[in-house]
């Protein structure tokens, strides 16, 4: 935050809290790799197909998302109020709207062709 002024004056160079131990980063890193490899293996080896495959990949993606939030982005840390959590919740609603809304609106194509 270049030159951003703080309310607690003269505190610009203070340490903004602990950013977690290296252990957490390593665990997060390994979990991310595992969660990336699983879908890759499933697709390359044709283990599943159709709906179960898509469902599994989606679950992996959501887990991956949570790992990012908790291990790397420190969602639970920070001063109150937790504006970032509110914004994130709104973001999830928006993403759902975009994806589900588009799928719903576009389904008419299937019924036409």
């Amino acid at each position: 935050m270049a030159g951003g002024q703080q309310h607690t004056a003269n505190s610009d160079h203070e340490n903004h809290g602990d950013h977690g131990s290296p252990k957490l980063y390593i665990i997060g890193y390994i979990l991310s790799i595992v969660l990336t490899i699983i879908p890759l293996v499933l697709v390359l080896n044709h283990v599943m197909s159709g709906v179960p495959l898509v469902a599994t990949i989606t679950i992996m993606a959501i887990l991956q998302f949570l790992i990012q939030l908790f291990f790397f982005m420190h969602i639970t840390e920070g001063e109150k109020p937790a504006y970032h959590v509110m914004t994130l919740a709104l973001g999830v609603i928006m993403v759902f709207t975009i994806v589900a809304g588009s799928a719903w609106i576009m389904t008419f194509n299937a019924s036409v062709s």
Binding site: M1, A2, Q5, L90, I105
Partner: protein, 655 residues
């Protein structure tokens, strides 16, 4: 050799239209004149130090405002050319191709390069002052945002004389905007210029959301914030969630054009309707992005000039927040006729009507604030009062359009054109004019001439109704939008002529505003108090224009209408001014890198427009290097020493 140069030049420069040759000549002349003036008066150093490298939010705001006014001129000239072409049946004022380019650039410029930067001007000039902050959360990023907008806008404007303007409409729907149907570089100009300036817009949204949430003066609770600041918070929420969708939609279309993908080409498994879907997922919220700050301006203006606290503060906040969320659930009403089926159309028709409710609540709150207030009919107040009936008509026709079955009749007709100009001019432009008049003293330290302003006001307002009321009727009579010319005998001729006359009246109104600005520079009444309107919010507690560090001491906030409360306190008998205790102020250093980085963005954009990959790569490398250089920079801030602050404050009579 000569022949190949000729072929190259004719591909590169737009030829064959006398008006464009005129534009070429005037661009060259203006450029030479600017270079001459800067050199003759030795202003290069000043320009670089004071403006091009600044990270001061007030200066950035002024640059946004000036750029937006210039773009209003350009977009307005486009509008007048179009109306001239349509004034009489079988007109041959413009060539068909040229006409297509003009309506495309008119829409693009007015929404993205006029309304958006003018709005960002208000973000920058007002928000930090209203919340008692010394700067925005990310001053460097703020400069990056401005220069990205600026060079994005330059890129689009360049298309007029180099390569040719986009001509697929400001919505740029495929398949019309796909390579197969639109070979020229114009469409690339459109995609790249909006993408480049869009990065800046998104960054501004993030910047001001953080500023408002984190940098309020001590004691200012969220529910103590001025309504303008609330409106900006609501706007930022929309920007953050809407702009990425636009970026993706345009990027996919660009990949289709540049790399031969088929996201939106039907014959290869793509779906052009997905583009329309994505575009309006940004496009509808965009309407609220530009109108919410105008609503914030009306709230400030009404309560200042009616000398009352705003009526229904909490319902105002609630309605703005509701608008910022519901606006995401209405986008399909832009393509009811796409054939998505009854369920889809019903859902979006109802959500569209629902968003009218909080908007109506706000209008009634303004009216109740005026009720029994001591109204002063200054220019900002005049524009606010003119907004109410204009927006009411626009809202009513909007609900007519929201009825999905009826929309099949209005779709793409002139009725729609009249409707959205009514809400965008009556809601947004009137609001931004009110804001410009209201905050002009804070920006430049002088008040604008009232008489010229009133001439401009009446020309604009009467011109507006003369221009757009006939268009509703024309829509019912079957005239469609984007129409190049029409034959005799359809009964459209007289209405079109009236509409054109109205457009020129608005043009005269703009000329009066130009005269007003020039008059203000020369003779404008100096504002020595810092509070020319007897204002209620914190920005009026500062001198006009504010010193670069804004507040010498950060104020302690005790409730809503902070400056009004302080003034009441000062009037109490036995009020003793507290001694001012000044400490060194922590400020960001200026930097030339945002400007240089944006130049590289421009180079990359220009190269990709003509498919010159090498030039695109050079630009991208330049962007990368400037980004990298920033991450190795540690010396980014400094402290303003106490004696400098004391000297400045004493000179302003504040000690």
């Amino acid at each position: 050799m000569l022949e190949s140069i000729k072929t190259f030049a004719s591909h590169f420069f737009v030829t064959g239209d006398p008006m464009i040759y005129g534009a070429d000549a005037s661009i060259v002349l203006v450029t030479v004149a600017i270079l001459f003036v800067l050199t003759y008066f030795k202003k290069w150093r000043w320009l670089w130090d004071e403006w091009l490298t600044t990270v001061d939010h007030k200066k950035i705001g002024i640059m946004y405002a000036l750029a937006a006014i210039l773009m209003l001129f350009r977009g307005g000239v486009d509008a007048l050319l179009m109306r001239t072409q349509l004034a009489f049946p079988n007109m041959h004022f413009l060539q068909a191709e040229h006409y297509n380019q003009i309506f495309t650039t008119h829409g693009t410029i007015m929404i993205l390069f006029m309304a958006m930067p003018l709005m960002f001007a208000f973000f920058n000039i007002v928000v930090p002052l209203q919340i008692g902050a010394r700067d925005v959360a990310y001053p460097y990023l703020n400069a990056v945002s401005f220069w990205l907008f600026f060079f994005g806008a330059m890129l689009l404007n360049l298309s007029f004389v180099i390569g040719g303007s986009p001509d697929a409409g400001w919505v740029s729907y495929p398949p019309l905007s796909e390579l197969a149907f639109d070979k020229g570089p114009g469409e690339n100009f459109y995609l790249l210029s909006i993408s480049i300036s869009g990065i800046g817009s998104l960054a501004t949204g993030i910047n001001f959301m953080v500023t408002i949430l984190k940098m309020r003066a001590p004691g200012m609770k969220l529910m103590d914030m001025p309504l303008f600041t609330w409106s900006i918070l609501a706007t930022c929420i929309i920007i953050i969630f809407a702009f990425p969708v636009l970026t993706i939609a345009l990027a996919l279309l660009f990949i289709d054009r540049l790399a031969g993908a088929h996201f939106f080409t039907m014959l290869h498994g793509g779906n052009p309707m997905m583009f329309i879907n994505l575009f309006w997922m940004w496009g509808h919220p965009e309407v609220y992005i530009v109108v919410l700050p105008a609503f914030g301006i009306y709230s400030e203006v009404v309560s200042t000039f009616a000398k009352k606290r705003i009526f229904g503060y909490k319902s105002m906040v609630a309605s703005m927040m509701l608008i910022s969320i519901i606006s995401y659930f209405t986008w399909t009403h832009h393509f009811f006729t796409m054939g998505s089926g009854a369920d889809v159309n019903t859902f979006f028709a109802i959500s569209t009507m629902a968003i009218g409710v909080p908007t109506g609540v706000k209008v009634f709150n303004w009216l109740f604030t005026m009720y029994r207030g001591r109204i002063r009919l200054t220019l900002p107040m005049l524009w606010t009062i003119a907004f109410v009936p204009c927006f009411a008509i626009g809202g009513a026709t909007g609900v007519m359009l929201a009825v999905a079955p009826a929309d099949y009749q209005y779709h793409n007709s002139y009725f729609l054109i009249a409707h959205f100009h009514q809400v965008l001019i009556g809601g947004v432009v009137f609001g931004y004019f009110a804001g410009l008049y209201y905050w002009w003293p804070k920006m430049f330290g002088h008040v604008l001439n009232e008489k010229l302003g009133r001439w401009s006001f009446w020309f604009w307002n009467i011109g507006f109704y003369v221009c757009f009321m006939p268009q509703y009727a024309l829509g019912f009579m079957g005239m469609t939008r984007r129409l190049y010319t029409y034959p005799h005998g359809l009964g459209w001729s007289s209405l079109n002529l009236v509409s054109t006359i109205g457009a020129f009246m608005m043009g005269i109104g703009f000329l009066f505003q130009g005269a007003q600005i020039l008059h203000g520079i020369k003779f404008g009444k100096r504002d020595t108090t810092g509070d020319p309107w007897d204002g209620r919010t914190l920005e009026w507690s500062l001198p006009s224009p504010a010193p670069h560090y804004n507040f010498a001491t950060i104020p302690q906030i005790k409730g809503r209408d902070a400056w009004w409360t302080m003034k009441e306190e000062m009037k109490q008998p036995g009020y003793k001014k507290e001694p001012v205790h000044i400490e060194p102020i922590h400020m960001p250093k200026s930097s030339g890198r945002p400007f240089i980085m944006s130049v590289f963005f421009f180079i990359a954009g220009f190269g990709l427009t003509f498919d010159w990959i090498w030039m695109g790569v050079i630009g991208a490398i330049g962007v990368g290097i400037t980004l990298l250089a920033r991450s190795f920079e540690y010396d980014t801030d400094y402290y303003v020493p106490v004696d400098e602050i004391e000297r400045t404050e004493a000179a302003l009579g504040r000690l």
